[in-house]
């Protein structure tokens, strides 16, 4: 009991003695746990919202559709669609409703739209719920809410459909298809075409020769949970395997279960989720580097304290326990704070769509999320602390008291090489060579950050390339898809990039400071032998800039590989952008390390040399 009390007291006092380091450590781990929490929570963030939309609109269990190819000769299998209404397990239906592809013009946009002819009377299954205005009337169109939101139109505005003018009488949500821009796509459809409802009379006047291009049928099943099986059963090809359908065969109906629509709604945040999870793991790596650097730096500064603790009877396990306890406490606090922040941020970041009823509430924190985030935070702390803690525990008491326990490493080839370089680089290389593990951490930290930045650049390029031509091939201004989809993802990418850079900056400062402390004796000696403070400062800075350069160069293939892995495509940013990233990294590293290096290079020489004798 006394031992636990002692460990707690020593750990608490040490943390209190270093409030800035403790706070930065907390922030570093918290940044990682927050992003990870948001990424994990996004998985279920739209589920609840889709359910409430389904209830509010009497959503169908299965949507069946038949579409005639735009230029094909095969007719739509209307009879096959009708036959589904009598299929076993079907308890009700509405439709079939006619569908036609049209060009919607509004606010300077010309975009693809799928126009559905509906009855003015409410339907028992899939009755879209107006969030603005009312349901369709002759001459009045209702626009799917997410589509209206993206185009920037509302009830009372005017739109054109195939150059015919309509007044928007309402904006409504539906559970029959997933919201714009991920509108459920069937056998033939224009990608990202928004949904517009008209009365059947208006529809006839709009469609060419009054003929629809396809039909929708909403089905209610006796067992809604069986919808995927029902859809799979009726989606089986009717033509025997190995034979090609003849031109005269009708195109069979395609069925989509409500569970698939729910999943497609969740796809709205799929990219954000993927980005956040990837960013979260990158931040975990950086946080681990932060903790390792901090612990290493503190060991350089605290080796005498360890010696004192051991001299008064502290066992090696006590010393290790104190060090581990400090960081475990910080990790637990950071995990709790990260979980809370992530839980609050998830709905704000996702805002799934105007196309669903209500906004995403805070998703439930499951035990698995809490467990994973806490385990990651603890893992970061323990993995980064274990080696220095065990090393400190094993350090000879006498050597620790003499503050000379951490003998520097020797790299003969680097020493020989440095002799040929200008004095600041000579000092910098030799300082770097003394602590290869720290230099490796600095390199990894920068490589992880640059990987994240390069992946973000690749994602932006890919996003732009992925965006279909405005209006799905129609001439127009910038597609609102850019606004609704790209902007959200860009915001997430930007937030993660900023967090990565901030954490890497903290790491760079810590590493420089730890190096300055660790190299205080050799720096003082170099100045005694005639190196100027400026040469020592530049040398300390160079010891960080060189790994930054290596890390930045390694980060480029790392980022491309990361994006290829996460984004499922290989996108290589332009050479000039990569060059800017490398040059920028080196300049930022030089700037960030300048101040701690300057302080380290100007410490009083005599004081340091005297302390070596103390």
């Amino acid at each position: 009991m006394g031992r636990v009390l002692l460990v707690r007291r020593l750990a608490a006092r040490d943390l209190r003695r270093r409030p800035v380091e403790t706070a930065l450590l907390l922030l570093a781990i918290m940044a990682a746990t927050t992003v990870l929490t948001v990424g994990l929570l996004l998985h279920g963030v739209t589920r609840g919202v889709y359910q409430s939309t389904r209830e509010a609109t009497a959503g169908p269990d299965v949507v069946a559709s038949v579409m005639a190819p735009p230029k094909g000769s095969r007719p739509a299998d209307f009879a096959g669609l009708q036959a589904l209404t009598g299929a076993p397990g079907v308890s009700g239906h509405t439709g079939p409703y006619p569908v036609v592809w049209a060009t919607l013009g509004a606010n300077g946009y010309r975009l693809g739209a799928q126009v559905v002819g509906r009855d003015t009377a409410p339907a028992s299954i899939d009755q879209p719920k107006p969030t603005q205005g009312s349901w369709v009337t002759d001459g009045g169109a209702v626009v799917e809410a997410a589509f209206a939101d993206a185009v920037g139109i509302g009830a009372g505005d005017r739109i054109t459909l195939n150059r015919r003018s309509f007044q928007v009488v309402g904006v409504a949500v539906t559970a029959a298809v997933s919201p714009y821009p991920n509108v459920s796509c069937f056998d033939f459809c224009m990608p990202h075409a928004g949904l517009v409802w008209l009365t059947r009379a208006d529809f006839r006047s709009l469609s060419a020769k009054g003929r629809p291009q396809g039909y929708f049928l909403n089905l209610k099943l006796a067992d809604s949970a069986a919808a995927p099986a029902f859809a799979a059963e009726h989606n089986r090809p009717r033509v025997p395997t190995g034979t090609r359908p003849s031109e005269s065969d009708p195109s069979p109906p395609r069925l989509l279960a409500w569970q698939d629509v729910s999943k497609a709604s969740a796809d709205l945040v799929r990219n954000q989720r993927q980005t956040l999870l990837t960013g979260g793991w990158l931040l975990v790596l950086l946080a681990m580097a932060s903790v390792a650097v901090l612990v290493g730096g503190r060991m350089a500064d605290q080796i005498r304290r360890v010696g004192l603790l051991k001299a008064v009877g502290g066992t090696p396990s006590l010393v290790a326990s104190v060090l581990l306890a400090e960081y475990v406490v910080v990790a637990l606090l950071a995990a709790a704070a990260g979980l809370a922040a992530g839980w609050l941020a998830a709905p704000v970041i996702t805002d799934p769509s105007a196309g669903l009823v209500g906004r995403a509430g805070a998703p439930p924190l499951t035990m698995s999320t809490v467990g994973l985030v806490t385990a990651v935070a603890l893992g970061v702390a323990v993995a980064a602390t274990l080696v220095p803690a065990v090393r400190a525990a094993r350090t000879s008491t006498v050597l620790a008291l003499a503050d000379s326990a951490r003998a520097p490493r020797r790299a003969p080839w680097l020493i020989a090489l440095s002799a040929r370089l200008p004095v600041p680089l000579l000092l910098g290389l030799r300082v770097a060579a003394r602590r290869p593990r720290r230099i490796m951490l600095a390199t990894v930290s920068i490589a992880v950050t640059v990987s994240g930045i390069v992946a973000a650049i690749a994602a932006r390029i890919d996003l732009r390339a992925d965006t279909p031509a405005p209006g799905g091939g129609l001439v127009g201004l910038e597609s609102p898809l850019d606004v609704s989809k790209a902007d959200r993802l860009n915001e997430v990418l930007l937030a993660i990039t900023i967090t990565l850079v901030a954490l890497a900056a903290v790491n760079a400062i810590f590493i420089t400071w730890a190096t300055a402390i660790d190299a205080r004796h050799s720096s003082a000696l170099a100045r005694t032998l005639g190196a100027t403070p400026q040469q020592v400062s530049v040398g300390l800075s160079a010891a960080q800039v060189l790994p930054a350069l290596v890390g930045a160069i390694l980060g480029i293939p790392g980022g491309i590989a990361l994006f290829a892995f996460v984004g499922d495509s290989t996108t290589i940013p332009p050479f000039w952008q990569l060059l800017v990233v490398v040059a920028g990294t080196v300049l930022v590293a030089a700037g960030l390390t300048a101040i701690p290096a300057r302080i380290g290079g100007r410490r009083p020489v005599a004081e340091i040399l005297r302390s070596e004798l103390a």
């Binding site: 020493i415 005694t528 005599a606 070596e612």
Partner: protein, 252 residues
């Protein structure tokens, strides 16, 4: 311009006027040096003795520009150095001052030769010239066969001989030695005494702070310090050359 070229070769190598050094403030104020007046002639060996904490090391640090005085002046070869910038002081140390410390202060990760060549590299000499100079100096201190050894592989006396070789790397005007035998056993002390004696004979200006009467006996002049002030000065009539081992009682 080489900092050494701006120094005068005539007149005293070192001189202080009213040198003062204080540490701390208020009730914690410590007067480490109190109005010290000193002149060290070129080629002279000066030994400074006194009890621990009397200000000997502080005096040495001030003479070498490692610390700044609270008051007074420090002159090196006719040039006032206490007001120089840190950069100018560093250049001056690089070319005109060699330090030898009680704790050796060798770089642990560098071999003996690499330690000795370091000041020459800092002074901008080519790696080949620096290495040649290091080889010459290591030969001079009898450590040619230990040139590629790390400090941890050397005895205390060998480390101090490496430190002395390093201090001579740039042919300094003055060598300042702070307790050079303080960490050594008797045999190693004798080695270092011989080396210092050789330096004195070669006309090297030496200021040696020591507790060791045997070292003090090798000097041309001995100053005793107490509480930051000089209390006694003894001229030793060109040192004790020839009687060193007898004085030290180290050889039969």
């Amino acid at each position: 311009m080489n900092a050494k070229h701006s120094l005068s070769q005539v007149g005293p190598a070192l001189r202080t006027r009213g040198l003062e050094k204080e540490y701390g403030h208020g009730a914690g104020l410590v007067r480490a040096l109190d109005t010290v007046e000193l002149e060290v002639a070129s080629g002279e060996t000066l030994a400074v003795m006194g009890p621990s904490g009397c200000g000997k090391s502080t005096l040495l640090h001030l003479l070498g520009g490692l610390e700044r005085p609270t008051g007074g002046e420090v002159w090196l070869a006719g040039r006032r150095i206490d007001q120089l910038s840190e950069k100018a002081l560093a250049r001056l140390r690089r070319h005109a001052i060699g330090f030898v410390f009680q704790a050796f202060h060798l770089m642990d990760e560098l071999t003996a030769a690499e330690n000795v060549e370091l000041p020459a590299l800092l002074a901008g000499r080519s790696p080949r010239a620096a290495r040649n100079r290091a080889a010459t100096l290591l030969e001079q201190v009898g450590l040619t066969d230990r040139a590629e050894h790390l400090p941890s592989e050397l005895s205390g006396g060998q480390r101090q001989r490496v430190a002395i070789a390093r201090a001579l790397s740039n042919e300094p005007l003055v060598v300042l030695a702070d307790e050079p035998t303080g960490n050594l056993d008797s045999a190693a002390t004798l080695d270092v005494l011989r080396l210092l004696d050789e330096l004195r004979s070669a006309g090297q200006t030496l200021v040696i702070v020591t507790h060791d009467a045997r070292i003090a006996a090798t000097a041309d002049r001995l100053i005793s310090m107490r509480d930051g002030s000089f209390v006694e000065e003894t001229r030793l009539n060109h040192g004790t050359t020839g009687r060193l081992s007898e004085l030290a009682g180290l050889e039969g």
